[in-house]
Symmetry: C2
Subunit: 205 residues, 2 copies
């Protein structure tokens, strides 16, 4: 793709560096922005700058926050003895949106992935172990992706926490609500039979 303007080329370059955005989409975004009023673009530009300069991470759970301690950690009603370990901020949002979890979180900031050069030292695993060692934590829920990286990270944390008197659990893997048995992959179906749970009325909603 050849551009007649260096500025457009630069802007397209920046937008197409975003995940899943190609040059054609990037150009569409840029041409859309050109048509907007100046204040809107300046606000957009300032927000981007602020993202790097003003964004804070909760000192307790490492999630993105406007303050030093996030809303969840600062909430006295939440159960601070129950810690749910997740990969990133999006997972916190996803679990919060269910409205069913009353504990707190611990955001790892990624998953162990030798392929991408991410080891335990790039994550907040040490902070999690400190938390278990020094704070009153009774249960850790591992809520990581059901991928190779997720399983590796879960196992790493399991080994690291083996010496501490804390209950370790993992979120249930199984057939999604509304999904048909026939089309479920065999690994998931197999696990859902082995990890079957007692049937009770509250499940039949």
């Amino acid at each position: 793709m050849e551009f007649t303007s260096k500025l457009i080329e630069q802007a397209v370059g920046h937008f197409s560096s975003l995940p899943g955005v190609g040059k054609k989409s990037a150009l569409r975004y840029v041409l859309h922005l050109i048509k907007q009023d100046e204040q809107g673009i300046i606000n957009f530009s300032n927000t981007l700058k602020a993202l790097k300069q003003d964004l804070k991470f909760c000192k307790n759970c490492h999630t993105i926050s406007d303050n030093d301690i996030c809303e969840v950690c600062a909430n006295p009603i939440r159960n601070h003895q129950l810690v749910c370990v997740v990969q990133d901020y999006r997972d916190v949002m996803a679990i919060e949106n269910t409205g069913l979890y009353k504990g707190v979180y611990h955001v790892l900031g990624g998953l162990i992935s030798p392929m991408e050069g991410i080891g335990p030292s790039n994550l907040t695993v040490d902070s999690l172990i400190n938390k278990v060692a020094n704070q009153d934590v009774t249960e850790i829920i591992l809520a990581l992706n059901a991928t190779m990286e997720g399983e590796t990270t879960s196992f790493f944390i399991f080994k690291k926490l083996a010496a501490y008197p804390v209950t370790l659990s993992a979120i249930a893997r199984g057939i999604a609500v509304g999904e048909e048995l026939e089309y479920t992959d065999e690994v998931t179906l197999g696990r859902s039979i082995i990890n079957r749970i007692p049937y009770n009325n509250s499940l039949a909603r």
Copy 2:
């Protein structure tokens, strides 16, 4: 979608205002940007600001350009008597990429669309008529989209230029190269039969 950070919410708002970007994609972009180094984000932010402040439009053909006169208009080898009328900058790029057009362009900046409140006064139609009246233009090629808005705009320009001794042509509508007759819509197929052209060897590439 509820955010625990106002800054993230603002950034997601800006990205999701782009055409075809939803809140989930916008959040993905924002989380990607947070992980980048500071200089990259500052460059992105500055480029956005420059887009509105430094971007120029060619005084002759109204395309986006880094200078007062764009590269195509400034090129003495191009045929300045032949003017191709297009909707926007992307169409200039698309035609330039064919490498087959040696004339110059005239960018309208949109199409007449009463639904969106865009009339001839919002476009560069007057500038086109001035060009035909005062400069040595022999042929105008209408290369607008084959939509209601495109046809309306073409017809409007046709009426406005009727008084001037200039040849008016339109790009050929027909079956795309590589497309099958069977799956072509009847309007296109009908037009391609009515507007058939003499067969010669150069077509059989």
